[in-house]
Amino acid sequence: MIKLHPFTVIIFSVVLFFAIIFYNHPIYIAFLLVALISSLILLGESKKLKDTLKYSFFTVVLILIINPLVSNNGVTVIYAGMRLPIIGKFKITLEAIVFGIVMGLKLISILLIFVLYGALIDIDDSFGFFSKYAHRLTLTLSMTTNIIHRLRLEIMRVKDVMVLRGAKLNEKNIFKRVKAYYPILKVVLMSSLEGSLNRAEALYSRGYGKGKRTLYSKLVIRPIDYILSTLSLIFFGLFIYGVFTDKGSYSYYPRLESYESKDLVFLTIMSIPMLINLLLIWGCKRWKFLKYKI
């Protein structure tokens, strides 16, 4: 996999995230979704892609149902029903349905950005990057990650001890089973807290917090990081320009707006740096020549 500097990946994902949240243009959202899906497939992350799609299904359905039910703003009425308490007059409009669909696609795109971020970033590198600026927070995070794995072993150990001492963990009755599990929970809590104090003392005796922190590995910034960051910044600049000049906006209510060519042109231009970014990342994965050259 291509190795990028964490800063490059963060800035790229953040800009993409803001662009997706801000713009509501249906064509733009659909286009970004297609771009994200195809780049994830090309990067070999199709399993995670499938999992995310499965995972987000419920929320998307909720969005699709709630929007038409609560929104009274559209003028193209598809179904008009009786008057309900609290909600008011019940009617379903075309605009609300379309808005719901686009919002569903938007949610999936946002989730896919997180998948893309996970695929591009190297966790160790990102810890190294953050520890330079926020070492207490990074220490807390890396200790927590470590403890989660340690706790699993701890639970298994305590469980074995309890079984040997005669605890019946596979009781049929749920209340009895909960009662049997309760001591395990308490022992795990106490022993893990005890362990945490031991770790703190170990860190303390190695001189943690005395003087400036040294770095174990150095992160290199390669030409590709410069290229990708510059393109992301151009993308961000265009995004800010679009925000202030109101280009690329789209309104759903009261009636679905027709597509204006100037909006589409602007959105296309804005997407170019992002597409080049995605292509470069894919190219570096595909061709060793490109990977070593930049």
């Binding site: 949240i21 995310t52 997180f114």
Partner: protein, 208 residues
């Protein structure tokens, strides 16, 4: 106005400010280690309970750690637990909201601990029960701001009504955990708090 974007920017900036504050606070390494352990516990307990919708001891653990160790400690336990456990369960736009919601649960529990030194079991249980709903309400807020239009009272009520049963499950779970485990766990944590804190005895008193 794009309220979803504004809300997420405010949220991320406030989280960053709170983390900077934590960085500047010079927490001792023992405190860091305890935060990490409690956050790890709170995070991992989300997994085995995943089968029961919205019933998990995370809120309960965050609340009691905030209650025993104070507001900032509680906030960090909640925020770190979310951040780390979401790397296993899946990050998403909900991560900052969850971090804020659980962090605030811990923070408010710390304030409760400062106001009431010895609250009854019932009082703590009610507190945890209420947080079951408050957590859901904070999480609904992002859903409402991001994906619902128009943002008016009607859509607000509809969004909140649709999540009532999920929030109720969460609140009932909290109620059960706090009622049955609360006192015991608080005793354990208080013992550890006493171990990492010390008080100075003025020289005068030793001399006498």
């Amino acid at each position: 106005m794009n309220y979803g974007l504004i809300s997420v920017i405010i949220l991320i900036v406030s989280l960053i400010l709170l983390f900077i504050f934590y960085e500047r606070k010079h927490a001792s390494v023992k405190e860091i280690s305890l935060i990490a352990t409690l956050a790890g516990l709170a995070g991992i307990t989300r997994v085995p309970f995943a089968a029961l919708p919205n019933v998990q001891p995370t809120t309960f653990l965050v609340i009691i750690s905030g209650y025993v160790f104070g507001p900032w400690f509680g906030f960090m336990v909640g925020a770190v637990a979310t951040l780390v456990s979401n790397s296993f369960l899946g990050h998403g736009p909900w991560t900052p909201w969850q971090m804020m919601a659980w962090g605030l649960a811990g923070f408010s529990a710390g304030i409760l601990g400062k106001i009431m030194k010895k609250p009854s079991r019932l009082c703590l249980t009610i507190f945890a029960f209420v947080w079951g709903f408050l957590f859901g309400y904070i999480m609904n807020l992002w859903h409402w701001l991001f994906f619902v239009y128009p943002l008016n009272l009607r859509s607000f009520i509809a969004t909140y009504a649709s999540s009532f049963y999920f929030d109720l499950m969460h609140a009932l779970g909290n109620l059960g955990f706090t009622f049955f485990l609360g006192k015991d766990f608080i005793n354990v944590l208080t013992r550890f708090k006493d171990r990492i804190s010390y008080s100075e005895i003025p020289v005068k008193e030793i001399d006498n």
